[in-house]
């Protein structure tokens, strides 16, 4: 109140004051002009006086900030394009960086979530050149004899059918040693951990994951002690694990599916004895305090010799020998993800640089156009601190809005992350925005813009105010600033070029991958995965009758052209067996093992796998064991190069006298099928009819071996249209049976290449973004150059220059910068290309197509960015400009 009254009319009061002083001076005999001049001098700076007087009443800084804010909003609204571009640039850069950093952070940097994880190691057996999980007897040997570890534990993924209460569902579970949870240092949230007495066959106890407990049992705390039905057997729930606990961890290692339920591993008597069998138990161990990894490795070497000594003599004679190895658990889980992720991080770093360079260019151009304004303000007595504040206010406003846009963008990006990618990355179902990362990237971008915003202040301070006033009105801009702007644009183009080449290489690699012939035709094929529980399908006869019923029903569906059952579809692995062949050429490189699948029905026809010679299984062979086998070309070529393999014989097991396995006659040779992920070398593969899977395997086996079955149906129409019909047919046979998954073959293929697709997509997005940024930067630079050189252009036109010539000069100026950046960029790209060569599939690091396309794209974008400013320059009205000076 008081403040308002006091300040009211201050301006008028001061004007009156000066007028009185002028009158006094006139009375003293001065001329009116001189009198006024002297009055002004005596009074001092009017604006400053007003400011100082107002300052008496309040918080001067706050007042000034409010003023500046109002001013900034006014000026920004006058030039919305500038504001928009800066905000979007910052938003894009900050958002992208934060999102990517958060993902990488989740995968690489976030701790494993286990107590003292540095002492956790993964143990492997080594068979030939390959690391493999453990065979149970070997694990038991190590567990008994080892001295280096506090504890060792084995685990293996196992799927379960969970029934009772509501709809049966398939869940992922794991069988674990009783000591696993305490080894990891995690205790149950509810109930108790497994005890060693639980680790016996026939003790049906289970620990639930937090997720399953919540989704299936509504978080009911009385679940402990109740029973659940797994694979139609009753299990007692003894505990629930905490929410954050995830085990096994995702990653490239074997047994990598996080379990919803854990049960004791409870090796059976048969498993304990079966040497050289069942290499599928992953083993984890905790080093004793003070024992180094190398010491443990040395002990494992000794243990390996002892394990080998326990192998049956005939196997030892046949040269079977296992080794033991250990690796830090972190390497095991993160392992091969590291390189693509670091690559991503590198790309993101480049985008951050592009963002900074671009914001710098924009802010610099903007600030340059204000040199005159600053000079005027300085002349009017604005203090330096006050000017800094004004300049910073604008950039701060833009930065804050840009940062918010960035935050929103990063949320969008993380949300849009494909599920497949999220699953491919270890430790990663939950990506949260990391605010430290946001602060970091935002901080860098904003600091850059602040820094460059202050540059014009420096120019004004260096040059005398008067000079700056003249300079901006007349001549060309400061040489220094011009160079800086040009080099920023060159940098942006260079970085964009590197990103484009990188993205180009990945896209080429991805399309090469997609173009590989997988050896089968995935189009219009629908697949369903099932596992028959032991209870309800305890005999071979019951399994076979289910197979028969399913195939009959599926084949009879109206739109189905053919249907078949198989133990494993392409891209999956099922059984890998040692084999020996008759009359084989005993050359080097003959494979000793082959993938093996069992099929029922016209499998090769359904999947579109070409028959190269011989014939497919007959209807009789489908139901009666006749000792027949179909092999792929690779197998045929390996054993009988240059001969027709049809009619030759092979059998499972080593070629030793006591091998009791029957000889199988090859009746057909089929095309090689990509067994692993796309792009991997196809392996040797053999197919037997389901009828040859011995009854004793299906009768009463403790494993689910032989009980997993995939249905494949080929249709003439959209395979997804068949989903409900297939579900109905399966339900028609066994209403309780849960379907693990139902998906088109095309989707299954797509899943396996999702990491590559992700890399290509992300890099593509980064590159496109930086390309746009480069274009914006170039555009911004040229617009300002043109407006600064308007006078020069006007003079040229007035002197008779053609408008096309002006066009040429401006575009030439822009393209020169692009060309320079391009040259540098291509040079660097050659280096980066070599660095990522190992991640590329059938694409050279100096891929001609990529290196040829990128410059064309960049130049084209360059021309587009130059076009508008150039056109404007050529339309300059010379007389108007010259007169306005």
């Amino acid at each position: 109140m008081r403040r308002k009254q006091a300040l009211d009319g201050l301006g008028q009061e001061i004007r009156d004051h000066i007028e009185r002083e002028t009158q006094d001076n006139i009375d003293k005999g001065m001329t009116p002009t001189e009198a006024r001049r002297q009055a002004m001098i005596t009074f001092g700076n009017v604006t400053l006086t007003m400011e100082h007087t107002q300052a008496v009443w309040g918080w001067p800084a706050l007042d000034a900030i409010r003023q500046d804010l109002r001013y900034v909003f006014r000026t920004l609204c006058k030039k919305p394009a500038f504001a928009l571009i800066v905000i979007l640039t910052l938003g894009f850069g900050i958002g992208l960086n934060t999102a990517t950093f958060s993902v990488v952070n989740a995968a690489l940097i976030r701790p494993l979530g286990f107590a003292d994880p540095d002492r956790l190691v993964a143990l492997h057996e080594r068979l030939g050149p390959q690391d493999a999980p453990f065979s149970p007897p070997d694990f038991l040997d190590v567990e008994r004899d080892q001295q280096s570890f506090e504890n060792v534990a084995a685990y293996a993924n196992v799927p379960f059918e969970l029934s009772g209460r509501s709809e049966p569902i398939r869940i992922d579970g794991a069988k674990v040693s009783a000591g696993l949870f305490s080894l990891l240092g995690v205790s149950p949230l509810l109930g108790r951990d497994f005890q060693s007495e639980d680790d016996q066959p026939g003790t049906n106890v289970a620990v639930l994951s937090w997720g399953l407990w919540q989704s299936r049992y509504g978080g009911d705390r009385s679940i402990v002690g109740q029973t659940i039905t797994l694979d139609r057997r009753i299990y007692t729930v003894i505990g629930v694990m905490p929410a954050a606990f995830e085990f096994p961890r995702r990653g490239p290692q074997a047994n990598n599916i996080p379990a919803s339920v854990w049960v004791p591993i409870a090796f059976t008597g048969v498993e304990r004895q079966a040497r050289a069998n069942g290499f599928n138990r992953s083993v984890i161990a905790r080093l004793k305090r003070g024992v180094s990894l190398n010491a443990a490795r040395a002990e494992l070497e000794v243990l390996a010799r002892r394990v080998n000594a326990n192998y049956p003599p005939e196997l030892q004679r046949a040269g079977v020998a296992v080794g033991l190895s250990a690796a830090p658990l972190r390497d095991e889980i993160v392992g091969r993800m590291e390189r693509p992720l670091l690559l991503l991080l590198g790309a993101v770093g480049l985008v951050l640089l592009v963002t900074c360079a671009n914001v710098a260019t924009l802010v610099l151009s903007r600030a340059a156009s204000r040199t005159r304004e600053i000079a005027v303000r300085t002349a009017l007595g604005a203090s330096r601190a006050r000017l800094v504040q004004l300049l910073l206010t604008e950039v701060t406003v833009l930065s804050i809005v840009g940062g918010l846009v960035g935050l929103a963008a990063s949320r969008l990006i993380v949300g849009a992350l494909p599920r497949a990618v999220a699953e491919a990355i270890p430790a990663g179902q939950e990506f949260s925005i990391d605010f430290r990362v946001l602060a970091f990237t935002g901080g860098i971008a904003i600091a850059t813009s602040l820094l460059f915003a202050l540059i014009p202040l420096g120019t004004v301070a260096r040059a005398r105010t008067g000079l700056a006033l003249q300079e901006t009105s007349r001549s060309t801009p400061g040489r220094r600033r011009h160079h800086m702007q040009a080099s920023l644009v060159v940098t942006t183009v260079m970085l964009a070029c590197v990103l484009l080449v990188g993205a180009g290489l990945f896209i080429r690699s991805f399309s090469a991958l997609m173009a590989t012939d997988p050896g089968y035709n995935p189009d219009r094929v629908l697949t369903a995965s099932l596992t028959l529980p032991r209870v309800g399908y305890s005999t071979a006869a019951s399994v076979r009758s289910f197979h028969h019923a399913l195939l009959t029903r599926a084949s009879a569906l109206p739109a189905v052209r053919s249907a078949a059952l198989v133990t494993d579809l392409p891209l999956e692995r099922y059984e890998n067996r040692v084999l020996s062949a008759e009359e084989a050429q005993l050359a080097e490189g003959v494979p000793s093992t082959t993938n093996l699948s069992w099929v029922y029905g016209p499998y090769f026809q359904t999947l579109g796998i070409q028959l190269k010679s011989g014939r497919v299984f007959s209807d009789v062979e489908a139901i009666e064991p006749r000792g027949v086998v179909i092999v792929n070309e690779r197998l045929a070529r390996s054993f009988w190069p240059g001969q027709d393999a049809v009619g030759k014989r092979l059998r499972w097991g080593l070629n030793v006298p006591d091998n009791q396995n029957p000889w199988l006659t090859i009746i057909g040779v089929v095309a090689d099928v990509a067994d692993g992920p796309l792009g991997a070398e196809p392996s040797v593969h053999a197919y037997e009819p389901f009828s040859q899977l011995p009854d004793n395997v299906l009768n009463n086996t403790p494993t689910s071996f032989g009980r997993q079955v995939k249905l494949a149906v080929r249709t003439d129409a959209d395979p997804l249209a068949l989903v409900s019909a297939v579900r109905a047919e399966i339900g028609g046979i066994d209403r309780q049976l849960a379907i693990e998954s139902i998906a088109t073959m095309v989707d299954r293929v797509g899943e396996t290449v999702s990491p590559q697709r992700f890399s290509a997509m992300v890099l593509g997005a980064f590159a496109t973004g930086s390309l746009l940024l480069a274009a914006v930067g170039l555009y911004g630079l040229l617009v300002f150059t043109v407006s600064e050189r308007a006078r020069e252009i006007a003079v040229r036109l007035a002197l008779g220059a053609q408008r096309t010539e002006i066009l040429r000069i401006v575009i030439g100026h822009g393209l020169k910068l692009v060309a320079f950046g391009l040259l540098l960029g291509l040079g660097i790209s050659y280096g980066t290309g070599r660095a990522i060569a190992s991640l590329l599939y059938q694409t050279e690091s100096y891929d001609i197509v990529t290196f040829g396309t990128v410059p064309i794209v960049l130049l084209l974008i360059g021309v587009i960015a130059c076009a508008l400013p150039a056109y404007r320059a050529s339309r300059v009205e010379p007389m108007g400009i010259l007169r306005s000076e």
Binding site: D16, N45, T53, A55
Partner: protein, 117 residues
């Protein structure tokens, strides 16, 4: 702006200016220009106010409650703001004056000890 002039004039210390304003207003309300003139005349033009700096000082004093203001009509029939001393200001003036006297005596003794004795 005052580079040339400051050589033969004494720049006012802030507290001194406050004191001079209070002293000027002892004889009755006055507007800004009149106060400036009074200070200049009263000091034989030695204590020059860069006149503008009068205004922040006036407002400072208003804020402290030592002076007040009212709208009035000036000698040439113009509306103007007249500043006057408040009772609180009058008391303050006494305090400040005696303080100033003490200070002036002390400084004088230091600078010219012989004359004082």
């Amino acid at each position: 702006m005052s580079t040339k002039r400051s050589r033969d004039h004494i720049e006012l210390l802030q507290g001194t200016l406050d004191l001079l304003i209070l002293r000027t207003l002892r004889w009755g309300p006055a507007h800004g220009h009149a106060i400036a003139k009074a200070i200049e005349h009263g000091s034989d033009d030695v204590l020059l106010v860069e006149q503008g700096s009068l205004y922040p000082a006036l407002h400072r004093l208003i804020r402290r409650g030592w002076i007040d203001f009212e709208e009035g009509t000036s000698e040439n029939n113009r509306r103007a703001k007249f500043y006057r001393l408040t009772p609180k200001g009058r008391k303050q003036l006494e305090v400040e004056t005696s303080k100033w006297d003490k200070l002036a005596r002390a400084v004088g003794r230091i600078l010219r000890p012989a004359e004082q004795e």
